[in-house]
């Protein structure tokens, strides 16, 4: 039975996302989108009895206030947002029954930055290019292509959900109040444009997350970069600045150096451009980016491709029934 969800207050930027997002159209400039913290998102779905891929809501900084027309099962994972159901506090990382007419209200994020709301059956929006994920910039997918708006009505597919389930503590990402994060990076693809001293400086420095950051890119503030000789002896078609390179594709997670400003390219990032990417944040560290806030401090820890793949495997394993108590 379909559940109508009235959006009383939309929150700061609440969007429909599905896992893993939109694939197959990257070469035409459409990024994957999808949930920024894929770990919390999948656990929320599993809690209510959905497939991990089902469409749910990503709530950024301040969550929405929603009224449900019919009974359904929901779960909130990720950032703590002091959520209440008809005024009574509800637990995170647990599935619970919502009865017809009840109001879910979320506040500001107190720990972390993004909460994920799964609803039994998943959000019912038409897939665009094979995915329900929202790509705000071009207005693709999700609920009319954009973040939720006050007064809008969404629908969930509904059906049998499973209340009373909980994610084991050890199986959740550790979202703390601290402002300092250690973020894994893999060196490359364009690390040969940076001098050895520049590589060491990047790894040894603190980087502050700027306020002008969103699902397209995370801008960082830190010391100047030092370039290798190659960056100044290259052909003119690469562009004038040492950080310029002949237009090329951008891996999702790559740290894109625009002049002296590094920007971590995330879920909705442009697919290509003319700047170098000396390092890449692997997918297993994305949840940390998703849960950090402007002015938080990053320190980068270099790992190998194989270690990054092992970390991803470990998280994938945790996104399963085994994590549920």
């Amino acid at each position: 039975m379909t559940v109508a969800i009235a959006v009383e207050k939309a929150g700061l930027e609440t969007s429909v996302q599905d896992f893993p997002g939109r694939y197959g159209f990257w070469e035409q400039g459409f990024p994957p989108s999808g949930p920024f913290d894929m770990w919390s998102f999948r656990l929320a779905n599993i809690l209510v009895g959905n497939e991990p891929a089902a469409a749910g809501l990503e709530c950024q900084f301040m969550g929405p206030t929603l009224v449900f027309s019919d009974d359904c099962v929901i779960a909130l994972c990720g950032a703590a947002m002091n959520a209440t159901l008809d005024g009574a506090a509800i637990p995170m990382w647990e599935s619970l029954t919502v009865t017809a007419g009840q109001k879910l209200a979320c506040g500001f994020a107190t720990k972390g930055a993004r909460a994920y709301l799964a609803i039994s059956g998943g959000i019912d929006v038409p897939p665009v290019l094979g995915a329900r994920a929202t790509f705000h910039m071009a207005g693709v997918g999700g609920a009319d292509g954009h973040a939720l708006k006050d007064g809008q009505t969404l629908h969930a597919i509904g059906g049998e959900g499973v209340p009373g389930r909980r994610v084991k503590e050890a199986c959740r990402p550790t979202i703390a109040n601290g402002k300092e994060w250690q973020i894994e990076v893999v060196q490359g693809p364009n690390d040969d444009w940076i001098s050895a001293e520049g590589i060491e400086r990047f790894l040894a420095s603190e980087w502050k997350l700027q306020a002008r950051s969103n699902r397209t890119g995370y801008r960082l503030e830190g010391p100047d970069w030092l370039f290798a000789e190659k960056a100044s002896t290259k052909g003119p078609e690469h562009g004038e600045h040492p950080s310029n390179i002949l237009d090329h594709g951008y891996p999702v997670g790559s740290i894109n150096l625009c002049g002296q400003t590094p920007i971590i390219l995330v879920n909705d990032a442009p697919s290509a451009g003319g700047f170098i990417n000396p390092f890449t944040v692997p997918s297993a560290a994305f949840w940390k980016l998703a849960q950090s806030k402007p002015n938080d401090i990053y320190r980068f820890h270099r790992i190998s491709v194989e270690e990054a793949q092992e970390m991803r495997r470990a998280i994938d394993k945790l996104c399963s029934e085994k994590s549920i108590a």
Partner: protein, 289 residues
């Protein structure tokens, strides 16, 4: 140059940047798209997407389906099996795009920039001056006098970088500084030696020389060309601009608005680099349209 052996550079846990060379060169770009077509055809398990660009391809893969090393070996075997570039023929559809050159939309956009950001020479005048042309008519003749090669897409969804295949029609243009905050959808731009059709209302830095009512990207998927794709072009396609008068422009615009415009595309067209090279040799570069 085109590298003796391509480089495979890691991009985290699920991407590889394969660099085939390091210059802006049509043969190199043709090689990139020929290899991409071959690799797509091979349907390598674990390989998810390809992002070909000027001289490189970004590959996305599932490390649980294929390792970095195995994917590199697979791609290299296709690369070495390609044989001589001269022998490659690629299916390369030609899209015909009507353009009203030096039109009302272009002028309004330029006037808006001058009013809001600062004085700037009118773009068609600047193009005529910098490229030694004798006026707007020659600008339109040169710009529409060649097929363009879609060398890459990206930066913005549906935005294609188009390179003139006839060297006699290549122009150059500086980019706006500071850039425009707004460019109308359908504007024809020129920056460096690349031309483009703006797929949506976006900021921009290319000189603007005309406007087409024909969409190259349609999020709402109203027109038949966008039934399975939101963007019209893919790398390795070709584009030909058709200069039209205002009456034809208005007619096409109304068909687009009514939702029944049919894009004009020659899907059978193949591109042979051997024939292309032969033809280049016959050209008298001192001649101009």
């Amino acid at each position: 140059m085109i590298y003796e052996e391509p480089k495979f550079l890691p991009g985290g846990d699920r991407f590889i940047e394969m660099e085939l060379g390091d210059e802006l060169n049509f043969d190199l770009n043709f090689l990139v798209h020929s290899l991409s077509a071959k690799v797509r055809e091979a349907e390598i398990p674990g390989l998810i997407e390809l992002l070909p660009n000027m001289a490189s391809i970004v590959l996305s893969y599932d490390p649980d389906g294929i390792s970095f090393g195995d994917l590199k070996r697979e791609i290299l075997s296709h690369y070495h099996a390609m044989g001589s570039l001269e022998d490659i023929e690629l299916l390369s559809p030609i899209y015909y795009i009507p353009v009203l050159y030096c039109d009302h939309v272009t002028r309004a956009c330029w006037e808006d920039y001058c009013a809001k950001i600062g004085d700037k020479e009118y773009d068609p005048d600047l193009m005529v001056r910098l490229n030694d042309l004798d006026g707007y008519a020659q600008l339109a003749r040169i710009h529409s006098g060649t097929e363009y090669w879609v060398s890459a897409l990206g930066f913005y969804p549906g935005l294609a970088s188009l390179i003139a295949l006839d060297p006699r029609c290549r122009m150059t243009a500086p980019k706006y500084n500071p850039p425009r905050t707004w460019t109308p959808k359908g504007t024809i731009g020129y920056g460096g030696s690349v031309t483009c059709v703006y797929p949506a209302n976006t900021p921009g830095g290319y000189q603007i020389i005309g406007h087409t009512p024909v969409p190259v990207c349609d999020i709402a998927q109203r027109l038949p060309a966008f039934k399975d794709d939101l963007a019209l072009l893919r790398p390795g396609d070709r584009v030909r601009f058709l200069p039209v008068e205002r009456a034809e422009y208005d007619y096409v615009e109304s068909r687009v608005e009514e939702g029944n415009y049919v894009h004009n595309v020659a899907r059978y067209a193949k591109f042979s680099i051997r024939e292309y090279h032969h033809w280049l040799e016959t050209l008298d570069m001192t001649e101009r349209f």
